[in-house]
């Protein structure tokens, strides 16, 4: 790993940009909290569904930011965990096991296990090799699920009964599902916030900055990276559980390489190493894709240059721009 250049901008923990960002956090979370009321008032149930899905991807992007933005690990196969989580729900449901209290822990456990295996092997490499090997693992899982004819092969698998909780909590109700996803997103944000500001989080950021130096002052860095990878993969698996319930369907396309690419784009677009940035990135990405697709079938022609512009000129992504708007003493 090369020596970091002195011109690199400090992480966003410094004074000045905090307040504008906090305001942005509150606006986005507040908007997501009251959105169902708006969709009811304007009788636009479609947006309830759209934003449910946006939040699922926000959780996945957030999980990727933990290792990409804080640990410097560019996983180009993160959608694999989305797929593992989703397929666990799908396959258990196929066998009539619908209890969320069985499905969800099983999905979390299997995602963690997948991340442990993939991480253990992949973290023997760094840089471009790490990118390629995580991609390779995701492709392996992609073809694995494609070949599972019993579970629909590449046609995918429809989920007839969603994860069952108890009493009045039924994910069949779009509003309940929306708030369950919202609560999971909030929980993941809070957990991640605690994590990155803990001792473990600081070690992770030190490794991103200069791994050789971390080893020289006594950190067995590989263990910390592996655990971060497992935490990230598990959180992404949880997003997969929600995705399966939201779409009422699972398919190998959840694990496709361009899905992994989209997650990276969401993180970069929102601002990596900020936790909340990727959430904003996911919202912006999904909404833009949705509305541009309505406008023209050639929407990537507009979308591509837009992404390049944000990444080039707003180095901290959208969240970085928000920070700058707050000014130095904001």
């Amino acid at each position: 790993m090369s020596t970091p250049s002195p011109s690199r901008t400090p992480p966003p923990t410094w004074a000045g940009t905090q307040t504008a960002r906090e305001t942005a956090n509150q606006i986005v979370l507040g908007f997501l909290a009251v959105l169902p009321l708006l969709t009811l008032a304007f009788d636009e149930p479609f947006y309830l569904e759209l934003f449910s899905r946006v939040m699922v991807y926000a959780i996945a992007a957030l999980s990727l930011d933990l290792i990409l933005g804080y640990g410097g690990m560019v996983s180009f196969g993160h959608a694999a965990f989305l797929g593992v989580g989703a397929y666990t729900v799908g396959i258990l449901s196929y066998y009539g096991i619908d209890s969320a209290f069985l499905q969800w822990p099983a999905a979390i456990l299997l995602s963690a296990l997948a991340a442990l295996v993939i991480g253990y092997v992949s973290l023997r490499t760094t840089g471009v090799y790490f990118i390629m090997i995580t991609l390779a693992f995701a492709q392996m899982l992609f073809y694995f699920f494609t070949s599972l004819e019993a579970y629909g092969g590449d046609d995918g698998l429809t989920i007839w009964t969603l994860s069952e909780f108890f009493g009045p909590i039924s994910l069949d109700d779009d509003l309940t599902l929306y708030y369950v996803i919202f609560a999971v997103l909030g929980g993941c944000l809070y957990l991640s916030h605690r994590l990155v500001h803990s001792r473990f989080g600081r070690v992770l950021q030190g490794i991103k900055s200069n791994e050789a130096r971390m080893r020289a002052i006594g950190y067995p860095t590989k263990r910390y990276k592996l655990l971060a990878f497992v935490i990230s993969g598990t959180m992404c698996g949880l997003a997969g559980v929600l995705l399966a319930n939201q779409a009422e369907f699972v398919a190998p396309s959840y694990l496709a390489w361009h899905r992994s690419g989209e997650l990276i784009v969401m993180v970069l677009l929102g601002g990596m190493g900020t936790l909340f940035g990727p959430v904003i990135g996911a919202v912006a990405f999904m909404l833009l894709a949705h509305f541009l697709a309505d406008l023209t079938i050639y929407w990537p022609v507009i979308f591509g240059p837009f992404l390049i512009a944000v990444v080039l000129f707003g180095r901290g992504g959208l969240y970085g721009l928000i920070g700058k708007m707050g000014g130095r003493n904001g």
Binding site: W14, F200, R202, V203, S209, A212, Y219
Partner: protein, 251 residues
């Protein structure tokens, strides 16, 4: 001399056809300041890198406090009590000076699989870090990002990071390189203050620093040790004069 703290026996490192270190042997006693000098390309930095664990030697043995560490990882060496400062300054530029040192304290304060309590404001890490910054003369820069520090200040910060790991041996690779006279005098004074407290292996081009600090000096050329002796004896050594000191003084 008592049992050496560090014993290097026949250490050899090749890069392709080039022999960077050719059967290096030397001992460093507890608390000894041992300087390694020699012209550019003599293999000094390669030697330090092998002692720090960044490079694997092809042959030879390194023993620290009676334990064979030839194949130990950098993190294991750090835990045993060997701290290294890098020739190319490599502090964590995004962190504040205080956080840089606190991170080094944390490395030796048990494992870091602690996920919940905020690390910022943790007195068990920041108090020793502040004390080290105080000692090194950087207390007033504690809150500044390390990237904003001058070159000299960064080298001081590196030393503070090494010191809080409570090492028994400091590997110092050109601690005054690239410094102005004032900064390098301050660094030499800092190291003099540590003399007797920690053993040091000091690679240095600044002869004032070497003769002010060293208990013994090893001279290397072309990957080989040509002499190891007290500073006074090294000054009088004909082979050393021919190989090194003469040209240096002429320059």
């Amino acid at each position: 001399m008592a049992e050496p703290l560090l014993r290097i026996e026949g250490l050899t490192k090749r890069f392709g056809g080039l022999i960077a270190c050719d059967g290096i042997s030397l001992d460093i006693g507890p608390g000894e300041v041992h300087a390694v000098i020699g012209p550019n390309g003599a293999g000094k930095t390669t030697l330090v890198a092998q002692l720090g664990g960044g490079l694997r030697p092809e042959e030879g043995r390194v023993t620290f406090d009676g334990q064979d560490i030839t194949r130990a990882t950098p993190e294991d060496r750090s835990r045993l009590g060997i701290a290294r400062s890098f020739q190319i300054t490599s502090v964590f530029t995004g962190f504040s000076a205080l956080d840089n040192v606190a991170l080094a304290v944390q490395a030796h304060a048990g494992h870091s699989f602690r996920f919940w309590r905020p690390v910022a404001g943790d007195a068990t890490l920041e108090d020793p870090a502040r004390a080290a910054l105080e000692r090194i003369g950087l207390a007033d820069r504690a809150g500044d990002p390390a990237g904003d520090l001058s070159h000299g200040e960064r080298r001081q910060l590196e030393l503070a990071m090494a010191l809080v790991t409570e090492p028994r041996l400091l590997l110092l690779d050109e601690p005054t390189a690239g410094m102005g006279r004032e900064d390098s005098d301050r660094m030499i004074a800092l190291l003099e203050g540590l003399k007797g407290e920690r053993a040091m292996l000091l690679v240095e081009h600044d002869m004032d620093a070497v003769f002010a600090l060293a208990d013994r000096i090893t001279v290397m050329t072309y990957g080989k040790v040509i002499a190891t002796d007290t500073p006074a004896a090294i000054r009088e050594n004909e082979a050393v004069r021919a190989a090194y000191l003469g040209t240096d003084e002429a320059a």
